[in-house]
């Protein structure tokens, strides 16, 4: 028999619930019955692997996917992916997507009256290196209106999707920008009770990764769930 180390439960208040009434579309989509608690099994502590050969080496640069350069302010978004035990997570797939500089997504459902940019698709992929580092070159996304409530605007953000080492570590999140005046009014950003946890979603302006004459650097470190120190006895 094999004992399995599970994953640490979230620190209270640092993860959203499913139902968050201020975010209107959660009302019909959040489960209403209590979730059923289950132990970690082999099915949850394993998960898909994607190595560095899996993504195109050019997929980190969202400004070079077309003939011309996209409009907007070029930025470098980089950081490290760690687990809760501060261990860097190498070979982790990071996927991002975002609106263009005018706040419009290249998606048929997005009808916001702002121009599409023929030189910007808005998606990229990278796999973390041996120290858990990733790096994207992109443009700063625009804010945009949405229908959640009267005069609702999403703060500028980049969507991030990460796998980590197991089914249990899968995470989808959003990165925000420092000083965005829309943050206090955004029900998605504010769905999490813990203020420090919310603020960890805000990237940090970073001189070290700022490229002279080229692009401002923003740093966004991401933490995926870590193993419990003590394996559960099965």
């Amino acid at each position: 028999m094999k004992s399995i180390a599970g994953y640490r439960p979230p620190y209270p208040g640092t993860q959203p619930g499913h139902l968050h009434p201020a975010y209107v579309s959660s009302a019909k989509r959040a489960p209403t019955r209590p979730l059923v608690q289950i132990p970690y099994t082999l099915s949850e502590i394993t998960g898909p692997s994607f190595d560095r050969e899996f993504v195109s080496p050019a997929a980190y640069d969202l400004t070079r996917q077309h003939q011309g350069e996209p409009l907007g302010e070029r930025i470098v978004v980089s950081g490290r992916v760690l687990d809760e035990n501060s261990r860097p997570l190498a070979n982790t797939l990071v996927e991002i997507w975002q609106a263009n500089a005018a706040g419009r997504y290249r998606h048929e459902v997005d009808q916001h009256d702002a121009p599409l940019d023929p030189n910007f698709t808005g998606c990229g992929q990278a796999v973390t290196d041996g120290e858990g580092r990733y790096r994207f070159v992109t443009i700063r996304p625009g804010e945009y209106p949405w229908g959640n409530h009267y005069n609702a605007w999403r703060p500028a953000h980049i969507h991030f999707s990460l796998f980590g080492p197991a089914f249990a570590t899968r995470l989808v999140t959003q990165m925000f920008f420092p000083g965005d005046p829309l943050l206090p009014f955004d029900p998605i950003f504010n769905c999490t009770a813990d203020e420090k946890a919310r603020h960890r979603l805000i990237s940090i302006f970073d001189w070290e990764t700022t490229v002279p004459t080229q692009a401002l650097g923003y740093r966004f470190d991401i933490v995926l769930r870590g193993r419990d120190a003590t394996p559960m006895e099965e």
Binding site: R29, S43, P48
Partner: protein
């Protein structure tokens, strides 16, 4: 030093542009060994309305019950034609289709054996964090002793087991709310 896991946020309505490049059924190129199965279903919201913008991610073992992952300690063969991962969106009618092979049983807690199953994450606009569920296979002899199914009240267990459909495929729906609400698991997310 210990850190706190980054807060989950919704995939929102536009995830297709970022995630569709990896859309695939677990069957992949079709080189996997095992009994092929097609699973069709719909994702329905609290009004019973189809959800046209949901995404299902599937993780499963191969036909021998072996996961393509370094932590699978079992002495069972890997299948070079089968990685076990799928990412499948719903269409405008809320329908999805998964092409795969039936996995073998895998070990469970306390020396038990888990019946063949897929573990599934569900993402969509309106969900601030993913939902986690499982799909089991109809008529499998192991279902009665499955340690996870046993944790689910008998009246709700059927939401986790697919039904054979007349077309030879399996039918399994994800129902987000209501009397027939799918069982979702608490993985401490």
């Amino acid at each position: 030093m210990s850190l706190h896991a980054t807060t989950s946020q919704t995939v929102g309505p536009y995830f297709k542009i970022g995630l569709q490049w990896l859309n695939q059924s677990p069957l992949g190129a079709g080189l996997a060994a095992g009994e092929r199965v097609t699973i069709r279903g719909r994702v329905l919201d609290g009004d019973g309305a189809p959800v046209p913008d949901a995404l299902l991610e599937i993780w499963q073992a191969n036909r021998h019950g072996k996961y393509a992952h370094p932590e699978d300690w079992q002495d069972k063969p890997l299948d070079p034609g089968f990685a076990g991962f799928g990412r499948v969106p719903t269409d405008s009618a809320g329908c999805f289709q998964i092409e795969t092979i039936k996995p073998g049983p895998v070990p469970g807690p306390n020396g038990s054996e888990q019946a063949p199953h897929l573990v599934i994450s569900v993402f969509m606009r309106g969900l601030l964090k993913r939902l986690v569920t499982r799909m089991y296979f109809p008529g499998d002899a192991g279902n009665g002793n499955d340690p996870i199914l046993k944790l689910v009240g008998e009246e709700r267990r059927s939401t986790l087991i697919a039904n054979p459909a007349s077309g030879g495929h399996l039918e399994w729906n994800v129902i987000l709310q209501g009397t027939h609400e799918t069982v979702f698991f608490d993985l401490g997310l």
